[in-house]
């Protein structure tokens, strides 16, 4: 008889990433680390992306975040995907991230904040190199 509806409005993927927050954390020490930061004042969302890049390859991606579950999940998703990639392969399509997270388009703005932080980190890494 009982119909228990899931923890809307979050997909299982968002819930997993939000709860486990894989690869969350600050930059390590050392010159290999590059950081990018972005924020959006209306929702007080803040994202910092950290990339450890050695000779064109992202050895490790981390993030710091203050934001809603989709924001956190998006940061975790990108950090997971980028860890190990070469710089030319490090790309984000925000709409694809939304789709992978099964999140509503109303969350696109948040994903763009995350994207921006990672792009800035990438930029910084390139400048470092």
């Amino acid at each position: 008889m009982v119909r228990l509806i899931g923890r809307e409005p979050y997909s299982a993927q968002v819930l997993r990433l939000f709860e486990m927050t894989p690869r969350a954390g600050r930059a390590g020490t050392g010159p290999d680390w590059a950081t990018g930061e972005s924020h959006e004042p209306l929702s007080a969302t803040q994202v910092r992306a950290h990339l450890r890049v050695v000779s064109d390859q992202i050895l490790e991606a981390r993030y710091e975040v203050r934001g809603c579950p989709v924001t956190v999940a998006a940061a975790a998703l990108i950090a997971e995907r980028w860890s190990g990639r070469t710089l030319p392969d490090a790309r984000i399509a925000p709409r694809a991230v939304l789709a992978d997270l099964e999140a509503s388009v109303s969350k696109l703005g948040r994903v763009l904040v995350v994207e921006s932080a990672f792009q800035k980190a990438l930029q910084a890494a390139r400048t470092n190199a």
Partner: protein
Amino acid sequence: MSIYLDHAATTPIDARVVARMADVMASVHGNPSSTHNPGRIARGLVETARDDLAALIAGQSGQIVFTSGATEADNLALFGLMRGAPAEQRHLVTSRIEHRAILDAARQLEAEGVRVTYVDADREGRVPVSAVEAAIGPQTRAVSVMWVNNETGVIQDVMAMAAICRARGVIFHSDAAQALGHLPIRLCDTGIDLASLSAHKMGGPAGVGALWVGARAAPLLKPILFGGGQEHGWRPGTLPLHQIVGLGEASRIAAEQLAQDIAHYQAMTELLAARLSTLPSVQRNGPAELRAPHILNLAFGGVDGEALHASLPGLAISGGSACGAERGEPSYVLRSLGRDDPAAEASIRFSVGRQTTENDIELAAKIVENAVKKLRSLWSD
């Protein structure tokens, strides 16, 4: 299962009330409007319930109009007073922190040509008596300010407002849904003219409530639903016997143990406040004093609201009101408190009930503490 700290949204029906309702449902079959014996037995039960509710609020039984809840009572009060108002009295004063039942009815009245003044609350969540007084003009027919705000628990100074209204010849209505069973209420001889009441906030069933109609308001109030002539013509429809009996029984119990209930609610919310005050950057939404004993609304700085709520699946709590929650809108009541950057903090309304235990509170405090710490750990300023 969840720790239930959302009693202000709805509180479990008291076991004694459930037993009484089940008994009546199983054994009394009659429409209270029928003149045969089963009808009269039903009518007798309705009148006993009316007396019990009247006793809880120190009002007269004949002044109680049963409704389907406080929402309908609010609508009946506002439309009932304002739609029939003469042209030179089509002005209503209310506040910006009222329940949606008042605000949406007021908006509808505006669409019907009524002028409405919305008084702002101050940074503590209080509607200033002076601001209400200043809003009253020669055309003002009625003022409606809630007794206890359902998000912050702030108690409004309705007595002072009612006195001013009486002196100015203006009708004063108060939505007392969160006050009933949580504060001593005496309606007679206060200057309050109308009060909206609900059963399910105090151990009674949802779907039943009342509008208390004082002598001064009675001649001015017009019905909003039309039909069988029940409730002095103010509210038609077959009287829902078991529901009214449930409201009566909840009233009887509330009257009997009010002091004890209040002490318990107060102890539980203060314990929770004490436990969570060990966390940095926690603030009360609203003042510590002059709040209803069952509601504690806290703001956790540096934490995203949606993220905090999503981190607490084991807690049944509310960000704002349950109604607002459905739409996922940020709370207009909390926004009105005028904090510097409300987006940068997460607010939780904790509300306790008779069933809440110290153990619930300790556990809930731990869960919230862990969630806040975890979320804060994701970001360094």
